[in-house]
């Protein structure tokens, strides 16, 4: 096992990794920017090194500074956490060149998965279902009709050069296709100076479902089931849970087997997450793979009983999966995570500042991952996640009730947080019965707005 590890991150994930190291007898080195001098990851690490000024670009994202710190502290591994340098293949390469073990997949794999189209094709080759679409640019209405027929309606036309909704059309049947095709092409031409279009299957109300995997360095891959992450606001996840109500044991097993085959072929290593969209019929389509530990990893830990961060270290140290996970993975009960962000709960503006009151909920089935504390400061330089509140219950109903009680006991003052927003979501009938998709929050806010207007 490693003797000494540098944690190239901050906040709750840095503390999460430090905790795992402490429990494994690994010495820890924190790095910090000047804004984080009084952070708990600095306090609880065995050593701490200031590597730069507050701006991430000059500190946590500054590869020479991070590597230099690793060298003077004489560590044998670096854990990148999530975000920051975690999916930076160059950083992983510098680690390798510096003879420091990077806790994650090798740079080649990270690079492959970082190029979305290549990743898609690798997955497709391994029979992982991907979102159907045209291959390359569509030249004519006739070709468009043919692609649409193959893909199946509804489809979406997108501008190859595009973005922001321009040159984009949802087409629901063959009749409306020709007009929409021409309109989209004109719009794309006007907007981007390029009228090229391509086509994809359109999912009206997709769910975001992802699978956690672990892969050792001996060619073995295991799937640890899925997480349901559809409760998002502008592609930022707010609530995650495991298992998903939509995934049957049979689906779980099939996807697990496919992923195992596919990732063993690719030569994947360490922890990773395979993200899917699920359509209204419960069919899954691969979108991308994240080659790092994820924010929402605790819900998987609670239902599987596997400590994912410890597993990352053991894998990186060369252990085999069969030594790390000695009994078959079984999903036990139901876990839900709420991301507690330092944000205004209505306006979503970041809310940096000093925390005056910080009362954590506890008791049966409640886990809190945080690096914040009473009198602590939320600096304005980094992301707004200040705590993860995670609950575990025998079933979803108990987990939901437990989360509601825990949210009510989580008292934060001095800054705004998303706690009141979570409380409103948990009171929502659609959420409670699990009837949601990635558009849920839009509808939720719309309903709230209507309700406010009707009471005025």
């Amino acid at each position: 096992m490693f003797r000494k590890v540098l944690i190239a991150n901050r906040g709750e994930i840095a503390l999460r990794i430090i905790s795992a190291c402490k429990e494994m007898g690994i010495r820890t080195v924190a790095i910090y920017s000047e804004a984080d001098r009084n952070s708990l990851h600095v306090r609880f690490a065995d050593e701490a090194i200031c590597i730069g000024p507050p701006r991430s670009a000059d500190s946590y994202l500054n590869v020479p500074a991070v590597i230099s710190a690793a060298e003077i502290a004489d560590v044998d591994a670096i854990h990148p956490g999530y975000g920051l340098l975690s999916e930076n293949a160059n950083f992983a390469e510098v680690c390798r060149a510096s003879n420091i073990k990077f806790i994650g997949p090798p740079p080649e794999v990270t690079r492959l998965m970082g190029e979305k189209e290549k990743a898609r094709m690798s997955m497709k080759k391994a029979k992982v279902p991907i979102l159907p679409g045209s291959e390359g640019v569509i030249q004519s209405e006739e070709e468009a009709l043919e692609w649409a027929r193959q893909i199946g309606y509804p489809v979406i036309l997108k501008a190859s050069a595009g973005g922001g909704g321009r040159g984009m059309r949802v087409v629901r049947n063959a009749e409306e296709l020709p007009n929409f095709f021409r309109a989209a092409r004109t719009e794309a031409q006007n907007a981007f100076g390029n009228g090229d279009l391509y086509m994809e299957k359109f999912i009206e109300r997709p769910r975001h479902i992802e699978f956690q995997v672990l892969a050792d360095e001996h060619g073995n891959v295991i799937s640890l089931g899925e997480r349901e992450c559809s409760i998002q606001r502008r592609h930022q996840k707010l609530i995650e849970e495991s298992p998903s109500l939509q995934v049957t044991p049979k689906m779980r097993e099939e996807i697990g087997a496919t992923l195992k085959r596919c990732l063993e072929t690719i030569g994947y290593m360490n922890a990773g997450t395979v993200e899917f969209l699920m359509d209204e019929d419960g069919k899954l389509y691969f979108i991308e793979m994240n080659t790092r530990i994820q924010v929402e990893h605790p819900v998987t830990e609670l239902v599987t009983g596997v400590d994912l961060v410890k597993a990352q270290f053991r894998i990186a140290a060369g252990e085999k999966l069969s030594e790390i996970i000695t009994r078959p993975i079984e999903m036990r009960g139901h876990a839900i995570e709420c991301r507690i962000n330092a944000e205004h709960p209505e306006k979503f503006t970041p809310s940096a500042g000093k925390i005056s009151v910080f009362n954590l909920p506890g008791g049966n089935g409640v886990r809190v991952d945080t690096a914040q504390y009473a009198e602590g400061i939320v600096p304005p330089y980094y992301d707004s996640l200040i705590a993860k509140l995670i609950v575990h219950g025998t079933d979803r109903a108990e987990a939901v009730a437990r989360m509601e009680r825990a949210l009510g006991m989580f008292v934060v003052e001095g800054i705004h947080t998303t706690i009141p927003l979570h409380q409103r979501i948990f009171a929502d009938e659609d959420f409670r019965v699990g009837a949601f998709d990635t558009k849920f929050m839009e509808r939720f806010f719309e309903r709230e707005k209507l309700r406010r207007e009707s009471t005025q």
Binding site: E34, N38, R43, P53, I67, S68, E71, A374
Partner: protein
């Protein structure tokens, strides 16, 4: 305490206030004075934290850094130093390390140090090397003056912002 002593003490306190000192302690012979100004936050623990050499020592769990709540709240927003170098309380200019790495006083083992205590330095003059990732980064003085003190030993690791030299400006 006689009138003369009292006057000296008052003088000193006025001076401390003027200098925006937060906390002050003095012990001399039989006399012991401790003072902190209103509004000043609490013992400055960050000095300890700032010194890598301290942190690289294994600290016993119990002694591990004062509780966070007791540490001065570095107002995150205003904490960023304009430049890693700054003026110390006693009027000396401190050259701080602009990067994390290993400090060397000379360009090569056995070579003459770039500067020694007592030397005059010019602004822009190389004062030492901080090695990071096998790169020898020459650190230049940002003021002109006399070298009063060297704060780290050659070969010692330094973190970002760590004081290297004290310079009396001229």
């Amino acid at each position: 305490m006689n009138a003369g002593q009292l006057q000296s003490l008052k003088d000193l306190i006025e001076f401390l206030k003027q200098q925006e000192v937060g906390e002050f302690e003095l012990e001399q012979d039989g006399l012991k004075v401790h003072l902190s100004f209103a509004g000043h936050d609490r013992p400055a623990g960050n000095v300890n934290l700032g010194h890598l050499s301290h942190l690289l020592q294994p600290a016993p769990a119990a002694a591990a850094v004062a509780a966070p709540a007791h540490l001065p709240s570095v107002a995150a927003g205003s904490s960023a130093m304009e430049s890693p170098s700054a003026v110390a309380e006693d009027g000396l200019h401190i050259i701080k390390s602009p990067i994390v790495g290993t400090f060397y006083e000379a360009s090569a083992p056995g070579a003459e140090p770039y500067i020694k205590v007592g030397d005059q330095v010019e602004s822009g003059q190389v004062v030492c090397i901080v090695e990071a990732m096998k790169l020898m980064n020459e650190i230049e003085s940002d003021v002109a003056g006399e070298v009063v003190k060297r704060m780290v030993a050659s070969g010692q690791p330094v973190e970002y912002g760590q004081p290297l030299f004290a310079i009396r400006r001229r």
